[in-house]
């Protein structure tokens, strides 16, 4: 008997036992669909999380220093580090962060005022809608200029501000030279709720001698670690105490998130894998019942000249077909499911080709593996006993 004939027989048998075949497949359908949906959603969630993190600046290294009276780090030294390591660092900006009341006429709002360097915009991947950003000359001359977020624009100017308009920051008169592009729906406490001024101005306003916070940006995420090392060496040489400064980047966090997602994906896949295994056992169970039920048929076939391998092939192919049809239906449902659930959770969940191939291979393999034992039992039946059974 050829393979083609065995396939036709299997299809016939599956179709003539529709309900039972479907119920047997159900385990496989659910198993495969859950593998595909879960991996799709986990992949989508991971990708989304990663891209959100990279918006925060995965290339950035933050340095926080507790300056003391005798030891402190100079802003110029930080700029020198960037200049001396052009293959690692792209830029640096001091950060002087404080909360002040800002006013335009009678309108007033409490916001965070950040003293920054001229590269702050690039380092934090921000954009301007209008005007210009703070320049080196503004910093040198302590020019009273500021760049405002959209929340400030809406609160103080009712959304209508012109370059050159004045603003009072902590009772000092400043000129608006630019507006940041909206990044957080213009809400209070978001990235739009801030005003940027030259760090030299901010340091004086806060009455601090030495700036304690810097953000460096590495040329590439891969270079972040090397950058951290250089900074650590230098700052340690100045501060002589590890507890007086802290260097951090998102890479550790990123690694942690990646690892967490990986563990979660593993656990979910493990659960899905167990359901596939259970589906396989279900198929084996049904095939065993089927062998008993079809003992007479097996006897007839054997008496007419069917060899062991003919009977074997018939049952193995039937089991493999049940599980792979279940697998295919599972893949379709899983793909639809991951896209639908992705839309529901606002995650860009897409079933991966890898998980589809894996799911199909696993389902067909399970069919063959779990069909083998019942098929072998059928093939070994004695034709006389088989013929005698009813």
């Amino acid at each position: 008997m050829g393979i083609g004939q065995a396939f036709r027989l299997s299809i016939k048998s599956i179709v003539s036992n529709r309900m039972r075949s479907f119920l047997t497949m159900l385990g496989m359908i659910i198993g495969v669909a859950s593998v595909i949906t879960l991996t799709g959603i986990m992949q989508g969630a991971t990708d989304d999380t990663m891209s959100q993190f990279s918006e925060l600046g995965t290339n950035n290294i933050t340095v926080a220093i507790t300056n003391t009276g005798s030891r402190h780090v100079e802003v110029d030294d930080m700029y020198n580090i960037v200049d001396e390591n052009p293959t690692i660092f792209k830029a640096v900006t001091p950060n002087v962060n404080a909360g002040y009341t800002v006013k335009n006429g009678v309108n007033s709002v409490d916001t965070s005022v950040i003293g920054v360097g001229e590269d702050y915009l690039d380092i934090n991947q921000l954009k301007m809608t209008t005007g210009r950003f703070i320049q080196y000359s503004d910093i040198k001359t302590r020019n009273n200029v500021c760049v405002i977020g959209t929340y400030i624009r809406d609160e103080l100017y009712d959304g209508n501000v012109n370059i050159g308009d004045s603003i009072k920051i902590n009772s000092q008169l400043y000129t608006v030279i630019g507006i940041l592009e909206e990044s957080g729906d213009s809400e209070q406490g978001s990235g739009d709720d801030r005003i940027l001024i030259p760090y030299s101005n901010a340091a004086r306003m806060a009455n601090i001698a030495d700036i304690s916070s810097f953000t460096f940006s590495a040329i590439d995420t891969e270079l972040v670690e090397a950058g951290e090392k250089i900074l650590d060496d230098y700052i340690y040489s100045v501060m002589k105490d590890k507890d007086l400064f802290q260097i951090s980047s998102l890479t550790q966090l990123l690694d942690m998130v990646e690892e967490m997602m990986g563990v979660l994906t593993g656990v979910l896949n493990g659960i899905a894998g167990i359901s596939l295994l259970v589906a396989g056992i279900g198929i084996m169970n049904i095939m065993l019942v089927s062998v008993v039920e079809r003992t007479k048929e097996i006897g007839i076939r054997k008496s007419l000249g069917a060899k062991k391998k003919d009977i074997m092939r018939q049952f193995v192919i039937e089991a493999a077909m049940i599980s792979s049809i279940g697998g295919i239906i599972g893949i379709i449902l899983g793909s639809i499911g991951s896209i639908q659930l992705g839309n529901l959770f606002k995650i860009s969940a897409v079933p991966s080709a890898g998980s589809i191939i894996l799911a199909f291979t696993v389902s067909a393999t399970i069919g063959i593996a779990f069909g083998y034992m019942p098929a072998n039992k059928a093939a070994k039946l004695n034709p006389i006993d088989a013929l005698r059974s009813e």
Partner: protein
Amino acid sequence: MDNASTPLIELIDIYKIYKMGNTEVRANNGISLKIYDGEFVAIVGKSGSGKSTIMNIIGALDVPTEGQYILKGQDVSKMKDDDLAAVRNKTIGFIFQQYNLLTKVNILENVELPLIYSGMSKKDRKEIAMNALEKVGIADKWKNHPNQLSGGQQQRVSIARALAGSPSLILADEPTGALDSRTSREVLDFLQTLNSEGNTIVLITHDQSIAMEAKRVVKIHDGQIVFDGAVEEYKETIEHGHRAGI
């Protein structure tokens, strides 16, 4: 009987011994038998006489514990399962009491079965199976499933299936056992026609009157042959026995 030629079937001192716990059951206790091409032999015996066991051995469904079975010059008695399957497929056409048709496929596909296992092409086996159905006069119903047919019709399908592989031997096990007397008659007439066309037939039955339809009768009792001769001779022994009994 042409004793000079090689027999189609040669059983040489066949023993079939089943072990039931500590006791041995000798289903066949030294059976020797030769059957030649073109013969119509009835093997008759009561239930438990060992006739089913000898049928299983002749049909290559089982092998003897001891002794030799030569079928068409091949020693079948020591064969493995798959070789026995090939012998059944190519040499023997079975007709069973319960027809033993597959209920889930149509009768054409039933008749095709032995041809599928012999590896014949789809086109050839369709043609041969249709011819076989034609021969038993049921070709117009080829699309029907067995359960849509009467008992007599089903037995005709099983005869067609036995004929399809053009076997050297047709082995009929109580072929009329499940049929009424009229359809029994039809089947027996058909077997006789097949024999007159040159087919070798071995008929297994418990019924003396059915055995009379053959040309030669072999009577089995307690696992041994107690009579082997022409049907006329067998009739005489029975009548004699009756007279003696009276």
